[in-house]
């Protein structure tokens, strides 16, 4: 799996069926995604699920509203479903 932050514009160009997780930033301008694809045009790339999760805890105000972060189980269990997640 690959862990990225991408802009909304780049997200719109990606193959949604290959994305297993998607989380919008608080300001809705960026998406944190987990995908099997390689994305070259990205804001940030993470080496693994733990560094990805840790980043959101450090930068929580950009990603969650409760002061926590996106936990690893959320990255694994909250399935992105293109048909219902806009």
């Amino acid at each position: 799996m690959n862990y990225y932050i991408v802009t909304e514009e780049i997200f719109d160009t990606l193959t949604k069926e290959n994305i297993s997780f998607m989380h919008k930033s608080i300001d809705k301008t960026k998406r944190l995604i987990v995908t099997i694809d390689t994305v070259n045009d990205r804001v940030r790339k993470f080496n693994n699920i733990n560094t990805c999760s840790n980043y959101t805890f450090t930068n929580h105000s950009d990603w969650v509203g409760d002061g926590s972060g996106i936990e690893t189980w959320e990255l694994e269990d909250t399935e992105y479903i293109p048909e219902i997640d806009d």
């Binding site: 608080i26 990603w63 969650v64 509203g65 002061g67 189980w73 959320e74 269990d77």
Partner: protein, 312 residues
């Protein structure tokens, strides 16, 4: 003493006994009525949005009185008054249970949690990432999941303190999850009721998850309004405290009619009067503290920090 005198004394004594019996019966009836009238429902427990053990609301069972595994039939039900905002953008845990002292989620997890960022109510249980079952319902799509959409009454906006959807009295919603014995999150084994209304088929037609959960019967800890593992006990929401009331756990799958009975037209009921009360394993009404209304059952003996029992 003549027979007439004896008879009149006997009649007088019987009349006295009768009147005493009548008085006693009236007294017993009055006492019984006072007990029946003793049920009140003025308070609830408010889970602070601050996190950590020092703010948590939980049972730490140590005597085996609350245990279950992956194929035990059960029903979990609670009234909830949502306190989070539309900017939560993450999950809030409503009911979460793991083994006592669990270091990770995968210590025999059973949880009911709402993910605000995509408006899903999720149920999950299991012992590992590769041994878990899960299901979810979402509420904002009148065509894709119309039954849940209509049950919740949230419209196209997500669930929050400013959009509580269909509620009973005092802006509380009764959330009920029934789970059967087949260790599956398929609709035939797992149901969600919003108030008294069945939310219909969840997203995963055959149930979601991975592998086969195999859970033990170790003592459990149950948390309201946060996760139940590790040291964080987080995911408690934002904005204002979310309140819980009338939490019940049942040793069976409540039928639709029994959930309707529990909903009681929107007013938390005296569960002792419920037709399935003999299957009720735990009932916490939070009138003065976290005591279990069922004798011998574990209490929510930890209501910590800014989390308090307060007016509904």
């Amino acid at each position: 003493m003549g027979i007439g005198k004896v008879s009149s004394l006997a009649v007088a004594s019987l009349a006295k006994v009768n009147s005493l019996v009548k008085l006693s019966v009236n007294k017993i009836n009055a006492v019984a009525a006072s007990f029946a009238a003793a049920f009140t429902d003025d308070n609830a427990v408010a889970k602070s949005i601050s996190t950590g053990t020092a703010e948590a609301v939980y049972i730490s069972d140590s005597d085996g009185s609350y245990t279950y595994d992956h194929n035990d039939a059960c029903t979990v039900s609670f009234w909830v008054k949502v306190g989070w905002s539309t900017a939560l953008n993450t999950s809030i845990h409503l009911f979460s249970s793991t083994d006592v002292g669990a270091a990770s989620a995968w210590n025999d997890l059973y949880r009911i949690y709402y993910t605000e960022q995509n408006n899903r109510l999720n149920v999950q249980w299991g012992h590992s990432g590769s041994g878990r079952k899960q299901q979810f319902w979402y509420f904002h799509d009148s065509s894709g999941m119309s039954t849940a959409y209509n049950a919740a009454g949230l419209g196209t906006s997500y669930w929050s303190a400013t959009n509580r959807g269909n509620t009973g009295d005092d802006d509380y919603t009764l959330i009920t999850i029934t789970r059967g014995t087949s260790n599956s999150a398929a609709p035939a084994n797992l149901k969600l009721y919003w108030n008294a209304t069945d939310c219909g088929t969840g997203y995963y037609a055959s149930g979601g998850g991975s592998g086969t959960p195999s859970m033990g019967n170790n003592d459990k800890q149950i948390f309201l309004g946060s996760t139940s593992w590790a040291a964080n006990y987080n995911k408690s929401g934002d904005s204002t405290a979310t309140k819980f009331n009338g939490v019940t756990i049942w040793d069976k799958v409540l039928s639709s009619a029994e959930v309707t009975e529990l909903y009681n037209s929107g007013e938390p009921m005296n569960v002792e009067d419920h037709s399935a009360y003999s299957d009720c394993a735990g009932w916490w009404n939070f009138e003065s503290d976290g005591s279990n209304e069922i004798d011998g059952g574990p209490d929510f003996d930890q209501i910590n920090g800014s989390s308090t029992v307060e007016a509904k």
